[in-house]
Symmetry: C2
Subunit: 180 residues, 2 copies
């Protein structure tokens, strides 16, 4: 996986894909499936909705670190599987045949099988809305991966995969952030 410029990392989250969020605490790594995410700033800063209902939340709060990994459609069944069992009694890396790779800055692992991985630090928790605010500190992309189409959760048990692309860079020029 090669490093991705941090100024481009928000382009991984803005389209709204389902993501996998890894944590690492007391020698144990875990993964949760999250589809409630949002970009807050180009710098980049992200919000995710999570709380006590996710086993990973305790590690996330305690360590203040996580990795947002972006799976492609060939991982769909593993993404659903990860979202429907708990790290309390499951080693999800082992169960789902995923490879934990050391990141550059945080202790939470990257997932080798994903299209991209964003190392993040928790900068705030807005408890009354269950929002965790994350700042990206490093980003990695697998440029050699052929299947790059990401997955969008509808929320009713169905999913939509990326389809056709449209380029509107010229029309958008006045609104694009510098350094992209």
């Amino acid at each position: 996986m090669r490093q991705l410029k941090l100024s481009r990392a928000f382009t991984l989250i803005e389209p709204g894909p389902v993501v996998l969020v890894t944590t690492h605490d007391v020698g144990k790594s875990n993964i949760m499936t999250i589809s409630w995410t949002m970009v807050l700033d180009f710098t980049p800063v992200f919000a995710i909705t999570t709380g006590d209902w996710n086993y990973s939340f305790t590690a996330l709060r305690k360590t203040g670190e996580c990795v947002i990994a972006i799976p492609a459609v060939d991982l769909l069944d593993r993404v659903v599987g990860i979202g429907t069992c708990s790290g309390a009694d499951t080693d999800k890396f082992a169960k789902f045949g995923l490879t934990a790779v050391a990141g550059k800055i945080v202790k939470a692992p990257l997932i080798a099988e994903c299209v991209a991985n964003i190392e993040c630090k928790v900068v705030d928790v807005v408890s009354n809305h269950s929002i965790v605010v994350l700042e990206a500190v490093a980003a990695h992309i697998d440029a050699t991966r052929k299947e790059k189409r990401t997955i969008h959760a509808v929320g009713d048990g169905t999913f939509v995969v990326d389809g056709r692309k449209f380029d509107r860079k010229k029309m958008m020029a006045s609104k694009l952030p510098p350094g992209l």
Copy 2:
């Protein structure tokens, strides 16, 4: 447009489409394009990232109301156009040939050309992160519209349209909210 059960409204936002947000203040309706959105709760509660940089923000704060309209891909150029001009000097409904329709509860208008419209009330503003928390109070869907594929902004001036669908309802059964 027929009414959509409120318990299903989060399924319009969870996949991460670009949305149009309408407001209405002092006899004037406006529209902004927003791609930074997130589901916060199934009830449904949504977060959007916005602030003083959007002309609509003043009306949103003052009236405490808006409509989240979901455009399909045939509206892409209008969605980009709406996002690259300002309501300060533009009547966007007129300029982009969109039809304002009265909602059921809020004064902000529905957009007739969109796939769906969600009437919302502001329940909180998390100012330090520019997050506006919205509670949906009514939802409408155009069941007769043929083109329903929504648009996902990448953030670099390119867009990805909904592609193939996958059904994983059986695998997800334990995690789906009641009343869907």
